[in-house]
Symmetry: D2
Subunit: 345 residues, 4 copies
């Protein structure tokens, strides 16, 4: 259920699009409350129309959700707006939608290709566990003992070679994007999203020397629940667990002893529009619809006349560095204002 | 050199004391700029007059310094004011001095006895390295390789038993008070100051499994620089290093191979006036000078008519718990206001 | 199902007891395969006979289980033997049972009183959630999101004062004994078991500044699932989760929004026989049955003619310090034997 | 001073080289005890002869030292032998020198190009602090307060953008190779050496949320001692500190307020011979001297007839993954053999 402010924001957004960019069609994920001015987009339909630009409104979770809708192929560029509940992956505030859209439609926007991980699940006999395509995750795939009382035992293989047997609550295999999500809470490093790498972070390991590891993106990592593991491992992909994943017939999203997940860099990153690519509306002479909104959908490559330029660091600044500073509050020391106020009580 | 605001604050403070508590004598540590209204107190003199109450104005370091002036015996109660540069050990803002003094002189103040550690230094032959008394530290004693390029090797003994050989940048032996200082930066736990305990925290240890340890305050810990250590260990006590410590003839504050420091709970804690013991001035009928400011100096015990009550948790609240919440900003998550502002840029 | 070696070990043990200490009765927890020579002990029966000494054979979990059998009162002294699967709480190897028993029966054994935590569960309206007595845990009580996809939001109160709102996978409240169990894996400090303290360790917290905290054992800590927590919190006590706990009618061991657990030091520690109290059999002139095996059960106090002396550090050494060194392999650096072997391949 | 076993090992090595590979000239760094059969190599001479292959005997430090001898250009392939004191960068044991040399000379060896960092030092006015070329480090450049009592304040810029102001003992900028050295002790992640990346790890930071960061190797990182830093920052490069560095006239290797170091990926990595490229002597038909030992020195590129192939993962296995497993003893849990032995005492 959407709150009234959210409904109003969506309406304002749609009206602006239709009045400013008349030829553009807007689709909306299929659900009960499709707003006026948007057509239904059947996410599961093989004949769903191609998409040139994805717009998300909400928290970090909305981008993760958008990513999951394109889990078997290229993802169109994603323009993300926060609605107050702010997050780390959200470059724009909803109040700025006009300027942001102008940048995108005028071909001034730059994108950061956020790497994804492709996950394939295997049963104990080496056969694929799930029908169809691999799963693509934008943050991470995590194995966790869940509500089992006992620790997992998971064998880790890197490029076929045994790295270690991990006895722990679980393991996280994260992208650089996901390095500021669950992996960070579990003690992992913060990895710049323009680096191509895999981050392996243990969750509450028994072995005190098991530190987070960073592998080149060409690596193939297999996590196999040991035959002698006392607990199965629940699978979580970008925070979705349980039946939602339905990897196989039983559909419970759990790996039993001998079962494994194999993880590799995905060929399909998520192209995210950079905040720093936003331009002053005054500077945008007229909307350029040539590249974008061609109606042919995103092909997954840049410089093809789509009107985007790749660049984690467009022009003078790197959004991410500034975000890290702000969001993680590195500068916060004990000499905070809070204290000043407080000590007067 | 004191800044003008500091000089004014000191003057206002002294004037208030003399006008409100006429019989009270105020002493000042011997230095060039003794303020008007204060008598000189020769810190090193054996005949220095006894002190009933210590008042500090400045940062955390001023309390550590006050502690160091009473390193061979009981410390009088300490009432600490911040002058803007705030800190963790400073319950009161200078603007509140009238109320704070009223509480103390009316016998309404409660104190938290902050444990200290007694440190004795030994040479390689087991003889005492330093003349005179033990050193008492309020935060910690730290051994560190300093500017040596090489790691230290230090043998740790607990109650005479070998715990481990540590190869690291150094080791911190901290009080609960010091647990929020250097030890915290090095990865140690936060320990409530009303607990009696010793915290041993390694600084950048080679062994990944060397975690911080907490011992009962009855423990005796010996840190001995190994005979085969490639580096000597500089000694730092509450942040003072080098010649300032002059433990022996050479006075360089360094432990060579075979030399050691033995650390135990000190019999002389630092009694700190609690913030929560401050009362409304209206409720203080008249200054009670009986207990305090007797001119006989602090005897180191409570309930002897000195006008203090021990209590980490006086009345309804525990300053420390509130400070921890405020200062360490536990509640700071990614959804900060900073971000809200920032994303609008 | 017991393996053949375990069955043989139990038989040998029982035969030794009966032949060496003829008057002693041996009870066994009620289960299908009671060994010959042992009487059934109905753990849930109010008229179960009093016990003077508990003997456990197995892993750390067997001591935790023994503790849980005395969750509403005093625990008799516990003598623990490992059967190969070794653990941190197991001072004796099964092959040494004759010497160990001789020490205990001759009154030469010393014990370490391992603190427990008493846990009381409350519903959202402040009423007690569970009938009957409090739960006593020897390692820890942990709240965890379990298989929920979402983070918990838990409010922490110390002595009634709000410490912080924790957004995390969960929280651990541990004893010093439990500090080397789950809490250690989650990043907590190692606390000597003879210290009386509560350790609060967050599990994968979102806030990077939420460090482990150590409180005095007199503290009362309340963990309350926030009304706006997106996930309930599964309760785990000494590693037992779910229906095993049956805290209330639903018996699922889960705290919903508004529900809480209040934790305090328990008046009933677990008295564990120290390894270092083992003596050479030759030195034991004759079994002294006076104190122990009186048939009246353990009263929970020492020095009452029960034949035990309290002491974490009996005589010259502290088992725990030695264990920490061995078990955590502090000395393990990169220059290990493993490497020596390995590099020759 | 070399010990007798070391002298014997060197002699045996040299004799083997001369008898098996007659045309090869062997040079030795200039020092008092040049062994028989080696010519002097003046490290500082501009006319020093070109080198095709570097052989090191000793600890990890010998490779770091070899790297420092080629700090202004390409480094020849490095073949490293341990002499008992083993290390992480040492693939071969001295006893295996015949097989290792055979592999290298037969062109069967593969190499891992270990990235280096180029460091340039600037004074407070933006001018270069040091004459001549940049410094190249293989592990890390570290800034540290050294023996100063006070914390450093260092401003960090990434690609010109301010990341944060760090108040800490110091900062480490490490290569993936160095990620298992000082950075690891300070809490950094373990990074596979075939990844190109910069690792920034704070040393005992005051801010609890300052976590290790990983940047793409294209990043330029500037560390500038803040004007208001209470302490200068000693510079340490691959563990060498102080006068050894002589960055400028004063030659003390210290950065004062306003001074900075700028760090980037170096164009000159260190090509290290992989352990897994060692072959059975039987399989080596005859020494192939064509590529190697051409007498023209290493040009810094592969596949130029030098007889080397690049490859972190030659054939079936990745030395590094196996080393991580062995050296860091990931598998070490509490159920160690050590305990088994120990508990019988
Ligand atoms: N203990 C922890 O820290 C846990 C974290 N998560 C994370 O939550 C993610 C799912 O997110 P939601 O659907 O929004 O679930 P959610 O509503 O439970 O929120 C999780 C939190 O993570 C933040 N977040 C998500 N992706 C992030 C990123 N790449 N960088 C920084 N912060 C990020 C969100 O803003 C939110 O604060 C998972 O992919 C996982 O990374 C999931 C479980 C436990
Ligand atoms: N890397 C680090 O975190 C280092 C910390 N220190 C700490 O500095 C202390 C000396 O303090 P100053 O003379 O003020 O030197 P300083 O002026 O260098 O300040 C050190 C910082 O530590 C804070 N601090 C001091 N005691 C504290 C406590 N008990 N709890 C929380 N914060 C505390 C101060 O407010 C200040 O922010 C030493 O006892 C040591 O604990 C010293 C060296 C390195
Ligand atoms: N990620 C983790 O580290 C987790 C740890 N646990 C721990 O397992 C305990 C239950 O133990 P078991 O019934 O044996 O379950 P278990 O068979 O799953 O074993 C847990 C491991 O913890 C060890 N352990 C238990 N108590 C210990 C202590 N006080 N100090 C050092 N090691 C200890 C055991 O020897 C065993 O290796 C719980 O109380 C909890 O502390 C439970 C879940 C996750
Ligand atoms: N607290 C710490 O961990 C410190 C570490 N160091 C490290 O020592 C290095 C200099 O080494 P040495 O000249 O041998 O001095 P050293 O003889 O003082 O040895 C330092 C230790 O680090 C090991 N080491 C060196 N490089 C390594 C690598 N890349 N991966 C894993 N282990 C490694 C060495 O084998 C040795 O055990 C520096 O580059 C720095 O990384 C230096 C100072 C403090």
């Amino acid at each position: 259920m959407r709150t009234q402010p959210v409904i109003l924001a969506i309406d304002a957004f749609l009206e602006h699009v239709h009045s400013t960019y008349p030829g553009v069609r807007v689709f909306h994920e299929d659900r009960a409350d499709i707003p006026h001015g948007a057509e239904v987009w059947q996410t599961a339909s093989p004949t769903r129309p191609p998409i040139d630009l994805v717009v998300t409104l909400g928290g970090d979770g909305t981008i993760l959700h958008a990513s999951s809708l394109f889990s078997s192929g290229a993802v169109p560029p994603v323009l993300s707006f926060s609605l107050g509940t702010l997050g780390f992956l959200l470059p724009f505030h909803i109040d700025d939608f006009a300027r942001a859209l102008a940048s995108v439609f005028s071909g001034k926007a730059t994108i950061l290709n956020r790497m994804r991980l492709a996950c394939t699940f295997y049963n104990a006999h080496g056969g694929k566990k799930a029908q169809g395509n691999d799963w693509q995750v934008m943050n991470e795939v995590a194995l966790h003992r869940g509500s089992s009382a006992h620790l997992n035992t998971i064998d880790i293989f890197v490029d076929g070679q045994h790295l270690t047997e991990a006895v722990s609550d679980g393991l996280i295999l994260s992208t650089p994007t996901g390095s500021t999500a669950y992996s960070l809470s579990a003690g992992g490093p913060i990895v710049h999203p323009s680096l191509s790498a895999l981050v392996l972070t243990p969750i509450c390991p028994r072995s005190l020397s098991f530190r987070p590891l960073v592998f080149p993106s060409g690596s193939t990592v297999r996590l196999r629940v040991s035959e002698r593991s006392r607990a199965s491992a629940g699978v979580s992909m970008d925070g979705r667990t349980g039946v939602g994943i339905s990897m196989d017939g039983d559909g419970n999203g759990v790996l039993g002893p001998g079962e494994s997940v194999v993880v590799q860099a995905s060929p399909f990153p998520v192209p995210c529009v950079n905040r720093s690519s936003i331009v002053d509306e005054d500077n945008v002479s007229e909307p350029m619809l040539d590249g974008l909104a061609s109606g042919e959908g995103w092909k997954g490559d840049l410089g093809s006349g789509d009107g985007f330029t790749e660049g984690a660091r467009p022009g003078k600044e790197d959004d991410w560095v500034r975000d890290i500073n702000n969001l993680l509050q590195y500068n916060a020391t004990f000499r905070s204002k809070a204290l000043l106020r407080h000590s007067r009580t």
